[in-house]
């Protein structure tokens, strides 16, 4: 892809000292070197550790819920405890796992690498973002230890302001603080993309992952402040008695819902847009095929980000807003599905006549396409007012957004994790275990959440822990699936950690992938490139335009078969 980039000279010979000279090694390994680092790659790893911890805390809450729902009578938790458990699950998973999930980890690590930059525009601000997110998360955990919150993750007044006897103010404060961290990340990424692109890296040569992170950052900058002020007004009511949303005194609780969803619907795109970017990178690489309709993909990403701001009212079809508003929001929600569909068609067209291989990242990515499509299509059911009125507040809604956020965003996260793991750590993981985990995750996910579509259609409401006996078979099925899913999530923890110590050394470009991040050593040096790369080619240059893609053996296979054989990477793409 580049003529000046290949910093190969330094990459070999490396037998045991895989990390010598890399970002993992150059600043020192002490705790303070990590906690005070301004290297975007190290900050990405700090985020990864933090969100993994939050994922398991939120997952523990989900486990309790699925356990409770095995029996219709609900033997383990009281009503009040159940409320606190699902609230915790929601707050942790939305704000401390899904929102930072891909932007703060892969975005942080690969945005500068992919555009040929030595770091993000504001490295200190980047570290501050991590601390803000951490402090916010600790506030929420403190609220949990002091007895929890029982409002649901949406904090609707008047319950949250006037009635709830739980630690609403502290949890809300935590979300606000983390929100400022998100805004700072967004500012950093947008400024980086504008000002630090390498020579020759024009806007329409940017990898699509960069485009999605860029669009996501704009949404973060423009949506998060509305959440911050809205939740501040809730906190102001609880702490100082300022009754902005109090209907008894002439305020309007619905105003809260409008402001809340003005953030929280775009927040869905904060979660899914970068996931789409990750999957695009992987599908094009493992099909050995240029991305079909690159420009259209860019426009689709931007269209989703923009139209996503105008659909929030579909969360409020039964709230009593006007019928006219319902119709408009319904129409706009159908419109926002068009660019998403364009992306699905373009992924499919990219696969068409590709030289497809099924390594673990590709399995996760293909799983994403299927699950996201189901999640997206059921979203259209819910965008249609009559169906939404029928299934509002049921498990149909729960299943829908878990297909998008877990089947979509989390699958894409695991896809990216396996795709970039050799680059991040310099090690190869066990492909067999990884493929097994990918298939298990797809199976476990559907096993857990597909029954919830049926439950919702049959009329089981969400947020209840007791239910009529006729719903039990579907609930047992869902809870059993959750066990499989939990195992699939735990597996990578073992074989990925194992690979850090015993995995084979990865070459700089194990997948023969395009993109600047593969043109530097694995793991990359502190300032990413030894010489500033100069970009001279179009993105995803996997084959000559108009010619069929060629199958080829990858260095990753050779590395796995033979002993470690460092390859002169410089000539690889010649």
């Amino acid at each position: 892809m580049t003529d000046a980039a290949a910093p190969i000279d330094h990459a070999e010979p490396r037998s045991r000292s895989v990390i010598a000279g890399s970002y993992l090694d150059s600043e020192g390994g002490g705790l303070s070197e990590w906690l005070l680092t301004t290297d975007h790659k190290r900050i990405a790893l700090l985020y990864a550790v933090m969100i993994t911890a939050f994922f398991f805390i939120g997952g523990a809450a989900a486990t309790l819920m699925r356990l409770e729902l095995v029996s219709p009578a609900g033997h383990f938790l009281t009503d009040d405890e159940y409320n606190r458990v699902f609230t915790l699950h929601g707050i942790i998973m939305v704000w401390f796992f899904l929102v930072p999930l891909i932007p703060a980890t892969f975005g942080n690590f690969f945005l500068p690498l992919m555009i040929g930059a030595p770091d993000v525009a504001f490295p200190k601000l980047n570290l501050m973002s991590w601390y803000l997110t951490l402090i916010g998360g600790l506030c929420v955990l403190a609220a949990l230890l002091m007895g929890g919150v029982d409002t649901g993750w949406t904090f609707y007044p008047p319950y949250s302001t006037a009635f709830s006897n739980s630690n609403v103010a502290l949890a809300v404060l935590g979300v606000i603080i983390a929100g400022f961290g998100t805004i700072a990340t967004g500012v950093n990424f947008v400024a980086t993309t504008h000002t630090l692109r390498a020579p020759g890296m024009t806007w329409f040569r940017l990898p699509l992952f960069v485009w999605t992170v860029y669009a996501t950052s704009l949404v973060m900058i423009l949506a998060t402040p509305v959440l911050a002020i809205t939740l501040m007004l809730v906190a102001a009511d609880r702490l100082f008695g300022l009754p902005v949303f109090d209907g008894f005194r002439g305020g309007d609780p619905l105003l809260f819902q409008h402001l809340f969803w003005f953030y929280s619907h775009p927040a869905v795109y904060i979660m899914i847009l970068p996931a789409m970017g990750v999957v695009t990178e992987i599908i094009t690489c493992f099909a050995r095929r240029r991305v079909f309709g690159y420009a259209m993909m860019v426009y689709a990403v931007l269209a989703i980000a923009i139209i996503g701001f105008a659909v929030w009212g579909h969360h409020m079809f039964v709230s009593g807003q006007s019928v006219f508003a319902n119709l408009v929001f319904s129409f706009l929600s159908f419109i926002v599905a068009v660019p998403s569909a364009i992306k699905v068609f373009n992924w499919t067209a990219t696969l068409y006549r590709g030289q497809i291989t099924f390594e673990a990242p590709m399995l996760y990515a293909l799983g994403f396409v299927g699950l996201f499509t189901i999640g997206g299509l059921t979203g259209l059911f819910l965008a249609s007012v009559p169906i939404d009125i029928q299934v509002t507040g049921t498990y149909f809604v729960v299943a829908h957004f878990h297909y998008v956020m877990v089947g979509g965003a989390v699958s894409a996260y695991f896809a990216g994790l396996h795709f970039w793991w050799p680059k991040i750590t310099g090690r190869l993981y066990s492909e067999a275990w990884a493929r097994f985990a990918a298939v298990l995750m797809f199976f476990g996910f559907n096993f857990t959440f597909f029954p919830q579509f049926i439950l919702g259609y049959l009329g089981m409401p969400r947020r209840y822990h007791t239910y009529p006996a006729e719903f039990q078979p579907w609930n047992v099925m869902s809870s059993t699936g959750a066990v499989v899913l939990a195992a699939a999530y735990a597996l990578p923890l073992f074989y990925l950690v194992w690979s850090c110590f015993y995995g084979k050394i990865s070459p700089a470009d194990p997948w023969h992938a395009k993109g600047l991040e593969w043109r530097t050593s694995s793991p990359p040096p502190k300032r990413n490139f030894l010489r500033t790369p100069v970009v001279t080619e179009e993105p995803y240059d996997y084959h000559d335009p108009g010619a069929a893609p060629q199958a080829e053996a990858r260095p990753v296979d050779a590395a796995r078969l033979a002993a470690v054989a460092p390859r002169p990477i410089g000539g690889a793409h010649g």
């Binding site: 900058i221 402040p225 009511d237 902005v244 105003l255």
Partner: protein, 216 residues
Amino acid sequence: MAEAALASRTPNALREPWSQLSRQREAATLGMWLFLMSEMLFFGALFMAFSFSRALDPAAFAEAARHAEIAYGAANTAVLVTSSLTITIAVRAADAARGKLAARLLAATATLGVAFLVIKGFEYRDDLRHHLFPGHDFALGRNATQIFWAFYWAMTGVHAIHLTVGVVLVLRLFWLVRRGRMSLASPQLEVTSLYWHLVDAFWIVLFPTLYVAARG
């Protein structure tokens, strides 16, 4: 050790990861504008919520707004607009490499910011004396007048927090410039002034919204 001391005496504006100061300036300014966009939505949501609530009961809002102390508000508008002038001249002075003048004007800006907060404090004292804080002993009754005053405290409070942050940032610049610890070419001056102007601009919208237009 000697090297470090030397470095601190000849401050360099260039920071990681930049290789050119002009590019760093461009990025810092862009970053601040992006943050200001975010702030616009932060306050924008607040103004929208206020206008919406006012439309629900304009009569109660008009009655409540007549209790707001317009003299304090007007005085504060004058103080804050003047502070925007002083910080603008401070940035121009720094551009012209006149460090002493820049430092003096930064001090004037911070002083005007503090003056605003002091005047606001007196206004708050009067408001509390007149029982204008929503709650049981609220002076105007249990209706939308409480909503107006809830917005009053929330909006002026959030603005005062922003201004306090601004005063701290300006005082920091003052100290750095005066001690010669910061290069006058640093983008921090311009970026801080952008933030200061935004806080000023919010007040320019906030003052007529709360004190003038709502009276009805």
